[in-house]
């Protein structure tokens, strides 16, 4: 290094702090990506012979346009936040947990077992016990691929997909066997389900408090979801485990040479991911149905992957991504009522949003990185580290993960 050498650095007094630059850059990228997605969407709407402005307005009216709509949006967002957080936690450690789907199914079973066996407990004890029951169920299911990965190197994508299949069968078995309902009136036709949970064990309807229709099934679980996002943020950014996880995820060799146990870190991440996944189904069984149904909503785990991407694996970003997803899902209903545009348009729009967000974020990220690289100003960085162009290769977890977006999106139901 040149002792006094700065390659003509202009240490600008106006230099903005890096975080502000990053924030502004990301917000601009976000706006740009929304604009592009809506524009392409508008072209599609025109192709259907409808007026884009009216279609977008009907989506807005159905979601954010009324208190009821907002209630629906938050209720839809609740499980998606948990699901996306579960995906993102593993992602930070360089792993892809496709198994949130199976983990939350098993969690619904364990939660139901707690509900029905501890129905004598008062609500303030029962509900936490049920939530913990769900989290433990998710952890148990996540521990299998976690241990297999650490001990045998089995790839988590393969094992979690297999665990998903098993979980689906497990729900059917539980509802036909140990959890089979016996509380239905004689002769009544009832869908396959468990017994109805005690009232004290439900998450309660928040609708009355905010003037939202009970049909939205808005519950305080949304606050739990937001709380979980904050906890995950703290975990990743402010704790040793999160620090080690990020090191393992970005540079396993350096982490290992720094004394970090890769296996132990990854297993812990998988367990945390499983615990978060365990909360995905709670909105359904504690707020919506009040029992474990067979006709549960499928695909929340896969949608979580899409939401995690939309939120750029940032816990706070995930909250907003899940809300956006909720808005679009509500819009689906509106489309059917008010226009000729098929409901699949919403799925296309969701896909477009992920694509534009991921792409513009990547572009913005590289621009900012290149800027800061050059701004860092000291000699060397231009030569020594790879030029921005070269780092554009399809590497790193972000990119590899992005390819999996499409199938995840298709499975959305």
């Amino acid at each position: 290094m040149a002792a006094e050498g700065t390659a003509g650095t202009i240490a600008g007094p106006r230099a903005r702090p890096a975080w502000l630059e990053t924030f502004v850059g990301q917000m601009l990228a976000l706006l740009a990506s929304f604009g592009i997605a809506l524009l392409i969407g508008a072209l599609l709407i025109v192709a259907y012979g409808e007026n884009p402005i009216e279609v977008y307005r009907s989506i807005f009216d159905a979601s954010l346009g009324s208190t009821d709509g907002i209630g629906y949006v938050f209720a839809i967002a609740t499980p998606l936040i948990f699901s996306a957080l579960a995906v993102s936690v593993c992602f930070k450690g360089g792993m892809f947990n496709i198994g949130v789907e199976g983990q939350y199914l098993v969690a619904m079973i364990t939660a139901a077992v707690v509900e029905l066996n501890f129905d004598f407990l008062p609500g303030p004890l029962l509900v936490p016990a049920v939530l913990i029951g769900g989290m433990v169920g998710g952890m148990i299911w996540a521990s299998v691929p976690g241990v297999l990965k650490v001990k045998t190197g089995a790839h988590e994508v393969v094992t979690t997909i297999m665990m998903n299949g098993i979980a689906v069968s497990l729900v059917g078995w539980a509802l036909n066997g140990p959890l089979h309902y016996n509380d239905a009136p004689e002769g009544a036709f009832v869908d396959l389900r468990s017994n109805v949970f005690p009232k004290a064990g439900l998450a309660g309807d928040l609708g009355a408090m905010f003037g939202v229709t009970p049909g939205a099934h808005l519950s305080w679980l949304i606050f739990l979801a937001v709380g979980a996002a904050i906890v995950v943020w703290f975990l990743i950014r402010r704790t040793r485990l999160g620090y080690e996880a990020r090191a393992v995820g970005s540079s396993p060799g350096s982490a290992k040479a720094g004394g970090v146990s890769i296996g132990a870190t990854q297993l812990r991440l998988f367990l945390i991911s499983g615990a978060l996944a365990g909360l995905v189904g709670m909105q359904l069984i504690l707020a919506d149905r009040g029992y474990l149904p067979l006709n549960y909503v499928v695909g929340l785990g896969f949608t979580g992957i899409a939401v995690a991407f939309l939120g750029q694996n940032n816990p706070i970003g995930i909250i907003f991504a899940a809300i956006l997803w909720g808005i679009l899902s509500r819009g689906e209903v509106a489309l059917q009522i008010s226009s000729q545009v098929p409901r699949e348009f919403i799925i296309i729009l969701q896909g477009l949003l992920i694509l534009t967000v991921v792409i513009t974020y990547q572009i913005a990220k590289r621009r900012l990185a290149a800027r800061q690289l050059q701004r860092a100003g000291m000699a060397g960085e231009l030569e020594d580290s790879a030029a921005p162009e070269e780092s554009a290769g399809p590497r790193g977890p972000e990119e590899t993960g992005a390819e999996a977006l499409e199938p995840a999106d298709e499975k959305r139901i």
């Binding site: 290094m1 002792a3 620090y243 970005s250 720094g258 800061q372 060397g380 020594d384």
Partner: protein
Amino acid sequence: MTGGDGAGGSATPPLVVLEGITKRFPGVLANDEVNLELRAGEVHALIGENGAGKSTLMRVLYGMYPADGGRILVRGNEIKISSPRDAIANGIGMVHQHFVLVDPFTVTENIILGEEGGERLDMDSAQQRVAELAESYAFRVDPGAVVEDLSVGEEQRVEILKALYRGVEILILDEPTAVLTPSETKDLFGNLRKLREAGRTIVFISHKLDEVMEIADRITVLRRGRVVGETVPSETSKAKLAEMMVGRPVLFRLEKPKVQIGDPVLRVEDLTGEGKLNGISLEVRAGEILGVAGVEGNGQRELAESLIGLRTPEGGTIELEGAAIAGRPVFDIRNAGVGYIPEDRHEQGLVLNMSLWENAVLGRQDDADFSGTLGVLFIRKIKDLAARLVKLFDIRARTVDVSASTLSGGNQQKLILARELETDPKLLIAAQPTRGLDVGAIEFVWKEILDQKAAGRGVLLISAELDEIYALSDRIVTLYEGKITGEFPPDAPPEQVGIGMLGRAPEEAA
């Protein structure tokens, strides 16, 4: 031509002229009105410290960056180069430090990729053409071999052939020897001489002065984006070039501090593992630097990784001040007082996309100073640590929040050194500690290693650079095929050490 002294008067008109090239990045003036002439059939060395603007200048010529000012003339005509495709069309090719090859493809498939010529692919004749091309410049490479099976040196030959296949007249090589072993470097130089005989022009970007003196016909020195001089090897010396590059005299030999050699810090007995270590025994004492010389790939990496705990040896013992550490986890070995400078700082040293402060604490995140019992990081304290290290080691960075990838190679290595030495380790394992660094940074790293000795600590220095071994070591051992083949005093003639590096015992050598 600025600074064009003694460039050897010649009537041949220059093949390429760069005139007043200026390239600005936000906040950095990477090239400041640079003038450069390339003549047909010469090896033109472009030297300078990291960040001097060498690669930037050549990337401008290769069309990767648009210049902010100046013009480019090829064979007397001003041309506009706005993409590498334009550059290749004008006979200019570049081989980067990081290769861009398709691993599962064969050598031929890689070379013809994008130049297949027609819809029907005649692989046999393509292979024939590639073989002829390789032969004409004495490139040892099998056109049918699959790239993922090739060594780094062979991959580089494929990259060069790729450029030649496209009819390139002017070949830019960006630090080509940084990734090569000494013998591969020799091969490369042989190829370059053949190319020069055939009238091709080669731009050789480097900061290894020995190599520049050996291969270059003319040398242009850049410093801070400007040309500070142009010369020919016969009229200059390594020391003069280094001074031009750095802007001050550089010491190639540092004073070794006189220290009382103490008890053994590290004792390795009959270490074996993975077929790469075949019974290594050595000893490092307090206040001593033991240099392990050897051609790369003879077990250096395995030795270093076994000592720090990244590998579990199959047999033998490793004792740190009498306590057995073989097979212990990295974490324990570090805590027992071992510092580690890995040979690959990106793979094993730094987490590039994490910040400087996060890298500064890597390995010590469990310290009570830096995180609490619940695992919450004390970020304030870690940043203080990082700020202290940045100051102490003169690491050039805007703040401790910038990511490690924004640091230059020399500053990255300083960061690793700072981190590893901060804990006052009893033993420092330094594997190829100056690889890829420029002269100024090498001097810095050497001084720090000698300071360790002065402080009475043990250092195991593993290096493929014999110069480095000689500059620092109190004793030299040679490593060949996983065995120690000889021990030498620091004043042993290099030829003897060289024989040890080739696997023969010194007695036989004598």
